[in-house]
């Protein structure tokens, strides 16, 4: 089950070349045709490509946060990113939204090279990536509706679009009755639903979640994961970084495991796999 070839990430991924395509076709078979048509990327082209990516933070020159990572994530996939604290999960995610640049190698999101991307283009990249975090990152002095609408306002969407899309997405996450509540009047699970609603209201092709259930009890976590799965079924590529062993083992999706900056495992229908 576990892969002991800890340092052989590039060669290993090379051997895997045909695998995600297969996964994607399985996935598309299980989806209604309409969802496939909605997809921003045709099946078979990677949404995310890591090409020999190494990240070394100046504070720790001898200990790379990520070391020579090569992998591809395809449109419509649901991927778990697992690993202990300090394994490089957060660096992985921060590089995807170009908060940090790789020291070596290239990252492509939808065929665009993030390492050569101009700064002014970064906001446009982020409009295509929904982000969900452990600490929700909601604005405390805005209502649920305003928090979700904020994401559309700041990218210049018209009032009409906001008035139709925000209630729709809040219905999708099951918060249609709490439009006018403020975050501190909601439970943790509800707050996380608001932040998911905010992340997907713009209909991004890619949704990234960093420990989305880290602050929630197991039952609420399951609800959140169900929601993420539903979103994935509409064609959105979903990448979830987590320590939630039970969730990963139950859902049996593709698992990418990181350990001390190395890619140690990449398997379909995987399990969490780390000893606690």
């Amino acid at each position: 089950m576990t892969n002991d070839n800890t340092f052989g990430a590039p060669a290993r991924t090379g051997a895997h070349a045909g695998r995600p395509r297969q996964a994607a076709s399985q996935l598309s078979a299980s989806l209604p045709m309409l969802d496939v048509d909605d997809m921003p990327q045709p099946m078979g082209t990677p949404v995310i490509t890591f090409d020999h990516v190494t990240k070394i933070y100046p504070a720790q020159p001898n200990k790379p946060a990520l070391d020579d990572i090569t992998l591809q994530i395809y449109a419509g996939e649901f991927v778990f990113l697992v690993g202990h604290s300090g394994s490089g999960k957060s660096t992985f995610i921060r590089m995807l939204i170009r908060e940090v640049k790789p020291t070596q190698g290239h990252i492509y999101v939808a065929d665009e090279d993030l390492s050569t991307m101009r700064n002014w283009r970064v906001p446009y990249l982020r409009r295509n990536i929904g982000c969900v975090f452990q600490d929700f990152k909601l604005l405390p002095n805005k209502t649920v509706f305003e928090n979700v609408a904020f994401a559309l306002e700041v990218i210049g969407k018209s009032r009409h679009v906001i008035k139709t899309q925000v209630p729709e997405v809040l219905r999708l996450v099951g918060l249609q009755d709490k439009l006018n509540k403020r975050p501190d009047q909601l439970s943790g699970g509800e707050q996380q639903r608001v932040s998911i609603a905010r992340a997907i209201v713009n209909r991004p092709p890619l949704l990234i979640c960093d420990e989305p259930t880290g602050n929630l009890d197991p039952q609420t976590s399951r609800g959140i994961m169900d929601l993420l799965e539903r979103i994935n079924r509409t064609g959105t590529t979903v990448l979830v970084a987590t320590h939630d062993r039970e969730m990963v083992d139950n859902m049996r999706r593709r698992v990418i495991a990181l350990d001390k900056g190395h890619l140690t495992r990449d398997q379909d229908r995987g399990v969490y796999g780390f000893d606690v």
Partner: protein
């Protein structure tokens, strides 16, 4: 256009939502500009006083009683030709006595003591275009041959040139000091105001850094993030500077009349155009400080 409206709306809600920080920066701008304004007005008044005192500097050339008319005319023409001379006038002995009598109206017996004699010399009055050149011009007159021939006291020609040598020198060094000190004070005050305002705005932005982080996360462009903050900074600056201008105007209309009735010799009235200019300077300076302060304070939160 729609985003401009959005900026305005956001800056207004930001204003009401962060009322305490908004009031903080408005008060800071108001006080800084008020102090700068007071010093500016003070500076202009001092400048008025100084130049009115300087304008009183002129050279009197005392002439001997038996100087011929042609020599006087030659000397007059020579002085008129000197650089820095505004005008040249001639006062006869009779006029000099008359002037003396007029200035002694409070005790006319002094004039009566003269017993009809006239001890006063005729003189050439030289008005200067630039009061600071008084030394040079006096020197040039003194070295003129016609002057040495017809001056009132040929034994010591310098004695016939009256321009209050020592007191003029001291006056000029004093007025220059006052000018430099005024400029330095105003520069210092502007610097202090900049530091204060930049700090206040930075605090206001720090209080909202979470909002900025989320804006960046959902893909707002930097210009879009900056917009409402700059608008808010400008709003604070305009309110603060208008308050400062209002208080200065109040000060001017209430306090100035009292001072000027107590100190008649001070030319306190600045005239409408100067006052308006000072007010305009204050508003523009406030706006620049507000916008610049916001932009600088924002910069570190907008790094990608």
């Amino acid at each position: 256009m729609s985003s401009l409206l959005y900026f305005l709306k956001e800056s207004l809600t930001g204003f009401t939502r962060n009322l305490s920080t908004a009031l903080g920066s408005i008060v800071t701008i108001f006080l800084s500009l008020l102090i700068i304004g007071i010093f500016l007005i003070g500076g202009f008044i001092v400048e008025n006083v100084v130049s009115s005192v300087e304008d009183k500097v002129s050279i009197s050339v005392w002439l001997s009683d038996d100087a011929s008319d042609s020599d006087i005319t030659t000397l007059q023409n020579y002085i008129q030709g000197l650089e820095g001379v505004e005008s040249v006038g001639f006062t006869t002995k009779d006029q000099a006595l008359e002037n003396f009598r007029n200035s002694m109206t409070s005790n006319p017996e002094i004039v009566d003591q003269l017993d009809g004699q006239n001890p006063l010399p005729a003189s050439i009055e030289v008005e200067l275009a630039d009061p600071q050149m008084v030394e040079t011009i006096a020197g040039q007159i003194q070295s003129n041959d016609t002057f040495t021939k017809i001056c009132d006291n040929p034994a010591d020609p310098a004695d016939s040139l009256k321009y209050g040598q020592k007191s003029v020198e001291r006056l000029f060094s004093l007025t220059n000091y006052i000018r430099y000190i005024g400029i330095a004070l105003i520069a210092l005050l502007i610097f202090i105001a900049m530091v204060f305002i930049n700090n206040t705005i930075r605090l206001a932005i720090l209080a909202r850094r979470k909002e900025i982080a989320i804006m960046r996360l959902v893909g707002a462009s930097n210009g879009f993030i900056r917009g409402p903050f700059l608008m808010e900074g400008a709003l604070h600056a305009i309110i603060g500077s208008l308050l400062a201008v209002g208080s200065l105007e109040l000060l001017r209309s209430l306090v100035f009349p009292k001072i000027s009735s107590a100190l008649v010799w001070l030319p306190l009235d600045l005239g409408g155009s100067t006052t308006f200019m000072i007010y305009a300077i204050l508003v523009v300076a406030g706006l620049v400080i507000g916008l610049l302060g916001s932009a600088l304070a924002m910069r570190r939160y907008l790094k990608v």
